[in-house]
């Protein structure tokens, strides 16, 4: 694995971590009690994401890393569907498909 590929893998990990952070914050919003715990977990997870993204920028250009961050839309959609049972309409699935294709093109440049 080259440095650039490792960097792309780190950006992908950061987007997945952001997906979990968003789910934790949504759990806080939905939870009648224990909001603080979910919020702390959510913000701590955002902190971890920032560290992983910082590390990734050591390996990959920001013109590649930043657009790849749009994959957080994909992570949030999949996680909110699986973990929060949210419904996802056809427009959003099409948007997710376009983001995946676009991100693949950007990643292919790395």
């Amino acid at each position: 694995m080259t440095g650039a590929h490792f960097g792309v893998a780190l950006v992908l990990a950061a987007t997945l971590i952001e997906g979990f952070a968003q789910v934790f914050l949504k759990k806080a919003a939905l939870s009648p009690g224990g909001k603080t715990g979910w919020r702390v977990l959510g913000f701590a997870t955002f902190g971890v994401e920032a560290l992983v993204y910082t590390w990734s920028l050591r390996f990959v250009a920001v013109s590649v890393a930043f657009p790849l961050g749009s994959l957080s839309f994909v992570a949030v959609t999949l996680l909110s569907r699986c973990l929060l049972r949210e419904t996802v309409d056809r427009n959003r699935w099409f948007g997710i498909f376009l983001i995946l294709v676009g991100a693949s093109l950007v990643a292919g440049r790395a």
Partner: protein, 140 residues
């Protein structure tokens, strides 16, 4: 924001500022990481974290983050999240342009096509039905 309404000047300024904060944050973040003192080319996470403590540019990165958060909260007071989020995704373009100008990065056609598809994708995602949207539609 209802369809066809004129975007208020204050909101326009807030959206422009959001794009500026997004862009500045990414450019300074990359500058800060690229210039970490005493690190090998491919450092571990631990070495990167240790290097961050000796890099004053991360203070600028932190200031951009705080500014971005404060401005975003003001923007959301005046606009729907789906509208604001779609507009500020234009920072994918501004970051690409400024990374060429200030960081010497090279952008190829494939990347531009990818960014265009991502922008289209974000537009579809933000236009989709979501809980809490009036009549279930986008409001941009």
């Amino acid at each position: 924001m209802p369809h066809g309404s004129k975007t208020p000047r204050k909101l326009l300024a807030g959206l422009a500022l959001a794009i500026i904060f997004d862009t500045g944050l990414q450019i300074f973040w990359k500058l800060a990481v690229s210039d970490l003192p005493g690190l090998p080319d491919q450092p571990t996470l631990g070495l990167t974290l240790a290097g961050m403590l000796h890099q004053p540019l991360f203070l600028v990165v932190g200031l951009f983050m705080v500014g971005q958060c404060c401005n975003w909260l003001v923007v959301l007071d005046h606009a729907d999240l789906s509208y604001a989020h779609a507009i500020t995704s234009l920072s994918y373009v501004s970051v690409a342009v400024l990374s060429v100008m200030f960081l010497g990065e090279i952008i190829v056609l494939q990347q531009l096509a990818g960014i265009a598809l991502i922008l289209a994708g974000v537009w579809f995602v933000t236009r989709s039905d979501h809980a809490g949207s009036p009549a279930g539609g986008g409001t941009a």
